[in-house]
């Protein structure tokens, strides 16, 4: 498994094709007002609606084996993987290199899913349903991992790769330390691979990724500060590399009110001010921050129309769309109220 590839770098015009294509693909995303309507629909109605959209192929092919919420969940994940693989297929040189570096997050997701599945004794079929083979690890390799009996065997399969060191942190009891190490590894690898190329496209990718790390750390802070966890433990869980890392790590361990007051004045404050001030749930704040991140990705892509940013904007929007559909369907299946689901949907 190659860790670092040296790409041939081209001019911004190399981005013309892929940015044109993702902008056309963006028009096919589900409009925000549709989520409101989906909240009032039953699961079969949602499935029928999705059959009229880009999810048709996956729903049609999976309808014979699955039904209800399960069908929507598997079809959306399969569509997500197909869409991301398509982006890699239709891009060349620098755009392809940068897209792959960003999509490696799905390798991390898949490794985490397999570890969690093995940890809780899930079957191979169950694990396979939650995998999104959109990164570098191919579906056959992942299937092989899902077939292994023990976690130790899965970890052993990564011997000789970058993942191995992070995976060996597994102590047999807690997965959270391994998961945290994998997250840190993802961003560290990206900084190393992309940061070393010195191209304009790489700089723009890192600019967005730094923002993403800040948002992730912010959510961690909201969660842990609210739970009253010790500052040193929180700081260990923060991912390094964000633009606001030092400022955010100083906020670790503060009381909730003090922490929220300290956030005033930051660019993301207007997105969360009402929910954070009234002490709303972290998942609501997370949904607001996610929406802020999507808006940010598209906003900066307007300054650099022929760059990796419109592609990133699409990747993030597509991921958000799939997670919104899954939230609605899962919420409906669990019998949650429409208001509660609406709070979790990123709009």
């Amino acid at each position: 498994m190659p860790v670092l590839r040296l790409p041939k770098f081209g001019k911004p015009v190399k981005y013309a094709y892929i940015t044109g294509r993702v902008r056309a693909m963006k028009t096919k995303l589900i409009p925000h007002e549709m989520y409101q309507r989906m909240l009032g629909m039953e699961i079969p109605e949602i499935t029928r609606y999705l059959e009229e959209t880009q999810y048709k192929e996956e729903i049609d092919s999976m309808a014979k084996d699955h039904s209800g919420a399960e069908l929507v969940e598997y079809a959306t994940f399969a569509n997500l993987a197909n869409t991301y693989r398509k982006l890699l297929r239709v891009s060349i040189d620098e755009p392809q290199f940068l897209i792959l570096e960003y999509l490696r997050r799905w390798d991390i997701w898949n490794i985490k899913t397999i570890l969690r599945g093995k940890f809780h004794g899930a079957s191979e079929e169950e694990i396979m349903k939650y995998l999104v083979p959109a990164g570098e690890l191919d579906p056959e390799f992942l299937e092989g991992l899902a077939k292994k009996e023990k976690i130790e065997e899965v970890i052993q399969a990564f011997d000789g790769t970058d993942y191995y060191e992070a995976l060996t942190q597994f102590d047999g009891h807690m997965l959270s330390s391994v998961e945290n190490a994998l997250d840190k590894l993802y961003y560290f690898r990206m900084e190393r691979a992309v940061g070393g190329t010195l191209s304009v496209g790489s700089g723009l990718l890192l600019k967005y990724v730094r923002k993403e790390i800040d948002v992730k750390n912010l959510v961690t802070l909201f969660r842990m500060n609210k739970a009253g966890i010790e500052a040193s433990v929180i700081q260990e869980n923060l991912i390094p590399g964000g633009k606001l890392h030092d400022e955010l790590s100083r906020m670790a361990g503060q009381s909730y009110n003090e922490f929220v007051r300290g956030l005033e004045g930051y660019p993301f404050w207007s997105a969360i001010s009402d929910v954070a001030a009234e002490g709303g749930s972290v998942s609501r704040i997370e949904a607001r921050l996610r929406a802020y991140l999507v808006r940010y990705a598209w906003a900066i892509s307007n300054y650099h129309p022929l760059s990796i940013l419109p592609v990133l904007g699409y990747i993030v929007s597509k991921d958000t769309e799939v997670s919104n559909i899954r939230k609605i369907v899962r919420g409906k299946e669990a019998g949650l109220s429409a208001e509660l689901i609406e709070e979790l949907v990123v709009a």
Partner: protein, 85 residues
């Protein structure tokens, strides 16, 4: 001899011809540079939305108008503006 040529308009005619060539040629190169990005983007959009082909072709041909300006300057230089006629 040189003086004679200038008086005849020999060198000047030559320079006018070179200028006319440059006007069309450089305009063509400029349009090509503009079109490479637009063309690639249009192909990308049409791959997703075949209905965009008509609009896309129109946008792609916009930089061609630059060549017409260049060609007009060339024609004026070659046939309309002849100081020694």
């Amino acid at each position: 001899m040189v003086v004679e040529n200038i008086v005849d308009g020999g060198i000047l005619y030559g320079l006018i011809a070179v200028g006319a060539g440059l006007a069309t040629g450089l305009a063509g190169i400029g349009a090509g540079v503009g079109e490479q990005g637009i063309g690639a983007a249009v192909v990308g959009v049409v791959a997703e939305e075949p209905g965009f082909l008509g609009k896309g072709l129109f946008l792609m041909l916009l930089p061609e108008t630059l060549i017409i300006f260049g060609l007009a300057v060339s024609l004026i230089l070659m046939f309309a503006w002849t100081p020694f006629a």
